[in-house]
Every structure is written in C-alpha cells, then in structure tokens.
Amino acid sequence: MNLTASRVKFGQSVKRQEDGRFLRGKGRYVDDMILPGQLYAAFVRSPMAHARITGIDADHAASMPGVERVLTARDLVAAGLPPLPCGWAITSRDGTPMKVGVRHALALDKVRYVGEPVALVVARTQAQAKDAAEAVIVDYDDLPAMVDVLDAMAEGAGLIHDEIDANCAFDWEIGDAAATEAAFAGAAHRIALTLRNNRLVPNAIEPRAINAGWDGSSEELTVYMTHQNPIGMRMFYAAAFGLAAEHKLRMVSPDVGGGFGSKAHNYPEEVAVTFAAKLVDGPVKWTADRSEAFLTDAHGRDHLTDVELALDGQGRFLALRVDTRANVGAYLSSSGSLVPTYMYATMLSGQYAIPAIHARVRAIYSSTCPVDAYRGAGRPEAAYVIERIVDVAARELGINPAEIRRRNFIREFPYQTPVVYQYDSGDYEKSLDAALELAHYAGFAGRRAESERHGKLRGIGLAAYVEACGIGPSAKLAKLGSGAGMWESAEVRVHPIGTVEVLTGAHSHGQGHATTFAQVVSDRFGIPIENVSVIQGDTARVQAGTGTYGSRASVGMSATLRACDRIIDKGKRIAAHLMGVDYDAVEFDDGLFSSKDSNVTIAFAEMAYAAHAAASFPTDEIEPGLVATSFFDPPEFTYPAGVYVCEVEIDPDTGTVEVASFCAADDFGNVANPMIVEGQVHGGVTQGIGQALWENALYDADTGQLMSASFMDYGMPRAQGVPDYKLVFSGVPSPSNPLGMKGCGEAGAIGAPPAIINAVCNALDVRHVDMPATPEKIWRLCRQGKAG
C-alpha cells in the first residue's frame, strides 16, 4: 500500500473523509438513537399568539396510559429552574441596559407566540405522549396579536411583556450622528429608501432533537442534542440552569443534519426535556416535527429599515444614515440582541469608504417566534441595506452600478470603518473585475435583446459584500457585550504508531471538519490523511471549545495547526537526543526529522514510537508521550468579501423570475479545501436566492398565526429553481490567523439577496421591490409599468 499517495496538502480539494458512512446510511443523528428504557416527550403548545394563561388542567392527561409525568411552568419555577438567558448585553442610547423579557422553558402566565411550549408530557411511547398532550386543557384569555414591528410600536399597542414599555428591548445606536448629519447637510445628492428584510425559517432538514437521561453508571447527566456548540451548551446547562455540575454533565452532539445558526441557540424545549429527564426513570427523547420547527426554531432577519445615502457631485459616498426596527420576536433569544447590533450595524460600511455612518437600531418585541442568528446573521441584512441603496443611487445619478462601486471601494488595508470594525485585508476591485468577467458583463445588452425577442425582461444585478468572521477576539467581543470567550481549542494526540486524533471544540454540521481539520494535520505532519481522525461533538472526549457558527472554523483549524507545531517542537527536542545534535539544528519537513549535522533521519511515525518508548531521551527533561493542546484566540476578526453578479429573466405575463445565471467572485483568504468551499457557496447562494424569491415567514396580522408553517406554504429552494453557479476565488490571505483563512460559510446568503433584487429592479426598471419577489408582486409591477 502506498501510504504517501494519500498525504494531502492544505488547500487541496481532498474528497471528504466522512462521506462513506453518510452514503451508506450510517450517519448517526440524535433521532437515530433509542436508549434502554426510552421515554418520549411531547409538548402542549400555545395555539394563540398572545394570551394570558388562566388555567391548566393536566389531571386527566396525567392519568392516561403510559404517562410518566406532566410538567408545567409552575413545576420548573418551584424547582428553581431559572429563565433562559440572552447571551449578549446591549446598552441603549440613554445608557440603560437592554430589557430582557422573562422567558421560562414553559410559558408561565402568558403565551407570546403561536407554538410556545406550555406543558410537557413524558410517556412510554411517542403516541402516548402525543395523546396525553392533546388531553391537557389550557384556558387562555386572548390578547391582541402584534406580528409586525409597526403594530408592536404603535401608540397604545398592548405590551408583550407587561414590564417592558413600548415593546422596546433596546434603542441602540452606533457611529457619529453629528458628523453624519453634517455630511448630509453639505451633500450634492441624498438618496433615501425604506426596505424590509423578510423573516425566514432556517429549515435544516434534520429537525431539532434531544435525548437526555441520567446515566447511573457514570453518574452523569447525559444529553444527546443536535447542536452546533455542544460544549457551550454544557456550560449553559450547568452554569445558567444548574441542571448538573459541569463535570457531571456529558453533552453529545453526534452528526448534525444542518444548522445554519438555528442549532447554535439555547431553546426552551431542550431545557424542559433535560429538566424532565431528571425526574423520571429513563432517558427522555424529543424530536421536533417539521411543524414544530416552523413555529419554534428561531427565525432569521425581519428588519424594517430606513436608509439614506449622501453623495457628492462625483458619486462619492459621504455619509450613510440607517434607522432599523428589528423584530426580535416574543423574547430575546440567545444571540437575539447581538444579531441586529454588532453583527449588523457594524457591517454597514460595506466595501466602501464612507466617512460618516450613523445607525439606530430599535429591537422590538412582537407576538412571533424569537429571531436569532440564521446563516449570515445580521450581515445579510447590512449587505442588503448598503447594496440596495448603492444601486438606487447609481440608478438615480445615472452612473453604472459597477462604476459607482468601483469609485467608492476601500483600497487600503487595514481600514478602520466608522462602525467599530477594522477590515484586515482585501482587494475589492479584483473581485469586481473577476465577477464581471465571469458574468460576461459586457455582453449583457445582447442577452437582454435576445430575451426581449422571447417576450421576457432580462436584468443584471451586482452586489458587493463584506462580512466579519472568524469570531473571535475574546477581549474585543467582551467589550462589545459578549458573555463568553470565543477562542477555539484543539488537542492533537499522536499515538505510538503515528496515527493521530485531533479533538476540536468546533462541530461540523455539514462543513466537512473531518476532512479539513485532518488536512491541516496531514499537511503539517506529512502523514496520510487516513491516519488522522477528527473528534468533535462530545464533551466526554473534547474538553473545551465554542462550536461552529459564523464561519469560524478557521479558528479551530488555527488551533489545530498550533497544536501540530507544538508536537513538532517536542519531536525536534526528542530528535536532537536521538541524533546527538543541537535542538536548533533539527529540521522537520515533509514528514521527516533531519539535521545537517547528522545522517540520521527520523520519520514522523518513528518519532511517535520513540516518544512513547521513552528509551532514548531523558524523561526528567522531556516527558514521554506526544500530545499537544492549543487554545487559539484570534487577534482580530477576518473579513471575507466578494462580488456577485446575477442575471434574471422575468416572464411579464406571470411575474415569474428565473435566475438565468449567477457568478460569484469571493475572497475567502486562503481556503483549506476548494471543493468544500465551493459547496458552501452553492448552499449559501441558494439560501440567498430562496430569501430573495420565495421564502417568507408570514404571520397573519389579526390572529398571529404563522401562515407559511409547512413546506406546503413556505417556498423552499428546489433543484429546479436554481441554476448552476459559476465561482472564482480571488484570495487575499488574512493576517488574523496563521492559516490566512477568512471563512466562507455565510457569504452566499449575504451576497445573493441584493444581487437578485438588484437584477430584478434592473429588469423591471423600478427603484425597489421588497423580498421575496414573488410572481404576483412582480406581475403587478409589470402591469403598472405597462399602464404607466
């Protein structure tokens, strides 16, 4: 067997190591597990959007066959289980702390969104649990629903949380209001736009699932949960809820079937199930069905924004003013305060040198599912605001959309924006040129004429995005309100025969960590990738970490690289003894320790054996074994950026928008595995197209019912509605981590929505159309155009 054939490099399109078991149907997801003595949970959920609970009668349900326990909020409160925390403290303009509505794992006195859990039934079978849940009688005193921010902000609107005035969680600002005002006063042009960023349902295809129980043999509370950050959840469950001491709580996230942020949060259902599992004799399992996912998985986006751009006579940006009302839903979810503030308003400079920026963000409670991070999390909202207003400015000033962007690009790095972030590196013009070339931008007029001949309207749209990833520098994050460090850890264990385990606190839910992390090791150690296992997602094996979200795998891969370097350093010290040369004279390259002062060479596997045999070096000076750990805390964020060009073709008779082509030029810095990165962009762009054209979490204004609560009514992207994407990577390495990576997971979902809507507006020759650009909406615009 030729082992060297499978030595791989960082940066190669290595086929995924984890594919085989998934393809053979041997992936292991939480719902696949049935534990001995398995019990099942079902929730009683609020059918009302906003109501007082006047009584709960669970007596009959509790007596039904197989029922082990029925829990309500009273039981949780009596046991001292605290409410769910919001993990990020935001301070309002007036200096007051944000107002957090109390959220118990089961609703206590009031329900505030349709689907909110009110009671929990544990029974011997799932059917028994569901039967009993149907038999729990809850009396409600109906209150008015407020699903739109404007309704919740209206004079005299009812209060979602009785103690929180005007339904306002915080009224926050960033940037320099006076400088912005001054720039507007002297501007040649002021362009204004009001837009909505539509509410989305994440819809990972694997629904949320948990299986929790006390393990008598290990004397641990063991929680299997599909989650992007199991180690963080262990800390939450121990520190915030006291469900068990941290060292007596094992949290396991096996394979995770997609997350997109929605599995990075702390949800009431999982807390309630874990609490219940401690009261009954057997592990308790709950798997959300899709209806529950629609109603209760934290939604994304939902902003209403007024934006104004000031320009000089040459089309140069002078200032940007933004006023956003973020609908945070009924409660502030885990990162519900972070997403519309430091994930959003800090990105409003886009790729442009804008001397003055001011943004005001009001977070408004409503009788809807809480909103939290969903692929991009704040950054798509920012890119949409800036890329729409820039396009409108180009249109109104008669400047080509590519030209107006080119004229305003940031060209020198690092660049300090007026809104906190300092961009690390980039070459925005290079991405623009690459995207325009890929899209044959110059030939658009011909294609438009061809479409016209077939009675179709063709439009082209550009979007330039930048985002902050690689989260993150812990001290900086703490200053912005974070309650937790966001470094990542890696432990690299070399076995005596030279195989390697990497233990990481990052946790793949589709990103291919088992391959990319192994690539770092294979490359650094010069060993076959098959000899490397990546261990993730189990606190019994991995002690420390903060999970995978926000395109931050680069942090864990950097920790892995550092741990590898520590292994090599120890190897060099051992090699010096084995070779009889100075430490400084030992080199390690291509899997081999060598020295110019010796003709002895030591292969990596030989070193692994030597380190464990401990026969050839003084163990009082060098300890045996070959294990190293790194906690990598990046000095700065990374700033992936790119330019997307898309063409749409519209059928004016039906309003159907077809994405005719989509080209992306992304700067992700160095990439670990181009094949995997392309896959990430494909997926992200598709979610972005979904937002722009079909997806919409629509609540009925009167009843507060979620109208688009199943795949029958929520327009998911399907294979037939999206094109083949053309991609090019034009990487400028990031200085913020040793691998030069920037991150790629969210880019597509950030850049695609404005690119699509800009193309739609271009096709229709209109100023703006809100997402999603549904056929009826477009048909109406076409008809107006004809009439006008």
Binding site: T654, D713, P775, E776
Partner: protein, 261 residues
C-alpha cells in the same frame, strides 16, 4: 397517527362489504394525501380499506375509442402508458407532472378524483374531456361528479373503480405551480373535443370548473383576455390573490390553447 385497523381485501366485493359494514371505514388508495393527513391527526378513520392491491382496479385498456384507467393505476403508470400516450398525450403529460416521482409511484387516479383537492391536476382533465367516473355502483359524468372543494357525489362506502376518457389528441395541460407546494396555483386543461374547445381550471380555490366564456372566446376570435371569468370561482391566500389567480387563468388557458394543433 391515531389508531386504526388496516384491511387489505382480496377483491372489490370484500372491500365493499367492509366499507358497508363499518361507518368508520375509509378507502385507502395511494395514500399520498391521506397518510400525511393521518400523520397530522386531522382524520380518525377506524378502518382503512386498502384498494391498491385489487386486480380489478388495475390495467389500463383502450375500449371503443376511449381509454379506461382503473382506479388503482398510479400516476407513473398513466404517464408511461403507451395506450394513454397514443389516445391522449396531454393526459399522460399531466400525470407525469403530478407531485414528484415518489408520489407518482404511489398516488392513484382513483384517489385523486375521489379526494378532489381544489389544486389537484386530474379533476381538470376529467372535466375538460368529459370523463366518466365509474364506481362500484354507477357511472357518473365528470361535471356531475365534482361538487365542490374536496367534495364529490360519492356516497358513503362508494368506491371509484375507474375513469374513462375519450381519445383526444388536441389537448394540453398548462400548470403554474405554487412556488412552495408545487401543486397548481392555477392550471388549465384545454382540449378540442368534437370541434369545440374545452377549458377546465384547477387551483382557483373553490374546486375545478369549466370556463365556458373562455371556451366561447377560444372558438371565436381566440382572444381570452376579455372573456368573462367568474370571480366567485376563486379564493385568495398567501400565495396569490383572486385577481392574480384570475389573470393566471387567462394566461395558462391561452398558453395551453397555443400548444394544441
């Protein structure tokens, strides 16, 4: 799902007997609608009588210039049938566009017409082509069969056994799919039968219907844009307003007609 008893009768007579003997018994065909309904706990049949295995409900046949499609014939079988393609290509195409491949492998024509979903495909073909719905006790002309959304004239325990269509080579089915469910947001089955144009509309919201004014316009100057269309046939929802559905009806009808030669 609530509890129920599953029965697989050996022949139609046994199926009839079970259905006649138990008010809570309900026929189960391909189940592509019924089983999701049961999963959602929206129905509580005591007994499900599986009709899919009955030989009497299988086997497409041409008979006297008509095609007889027995009730348990799947959409995939209709789509692939040489007989259907030869006699009415549009019907095969319609069947080949219902749902998705997995649904077409199980869903049946009998189940579809008996369910009469207001956004289903088959009812429009039945109406446009003057199909005859055959049951275990009678033959019903399509216009008499569909009586409203999710409603037919089927009596309790009555079993659809087949649908008989006339041969029609001048027909086309034009569907505008709902972007989410992919059911028809509006679809029109257009046919030229005995020298006359037939237009049947599904997806409007209140149930399948013939658009007689459109037919007359088609047989007149061919322009449907001004033909009267009864607003009462349509309902609005989160996907489309009444006005848009009415507009799509004209567009789909016009496009369907353009494809009939």
């Amino acid at each position: 799902m609530y509890d129920f008893t599953y029965r697989r009768p050996a022949d139609l007579a046994e199926a009839r007997a079970i259905l006649a003997g138990d008010e809570g018994a309900q026929p189960l065909s391909g189940g592509q609608t019924l089983i999701p309904v049961l999963r959602a706990r929206l129905a509580m049949p005591a007994v499900l009588v599986d009709l899919t295995a009955l030989d009497e409900l299988k086997g497409i046949a041409a008979e006297g210039g008509r095609i007889l499609i027995p009730a348990a014939t799947t959409h995939a079988e209709v789509a692939a049938s040489g007989t259907v393609r030869e006699h009415c290509r549009a019907l095969a195409a319609l069947a080949g566009g219902i749902g998705d491949p997995q649904v077409r492998h199980r869903g049946t024509i009998g189940g579809s017409v008996a369910n009469n979903d207001p956004a289903a495909c088959y009812p429009s073909a039945c109406l446009a082509l003057d199909a005859e719905i055959r049951t275990d006790r009678r033959r019903i002309a399509a216009p008499d069969f569909f009586s409203g959304m999710f409603q037919t004239v089927l009596e309790p325990g009555e079993i659809v056994t087949a649908v008989s269509f006339p041969a029609c080579r001048g027909a086309h089915y034009e569907k505008f799919p709902n972007p989410a469910s992919r059911f028809a947001l509006i679809a029109v089955f257009a046919a030229r039968l005995a020298g006359e144009t037939r237009l049947a509309v599904t997806g409007g919201g209140t149930g399948v219907f013939r658009w007689h004014e459109g037919e007359r316009a088609a047989d007149g100057n061919g322009d449907l844009s001004e033909a009267a269309l009864d607003e009462g046939r349509f309902t609005g929802d989160l996907h489309a307003s009444v006005e848009y559905r009415m507009h799509l009806t004209r567009v789909m009808a016009q496009r369907a007609l353009a494809k009939i030669h």
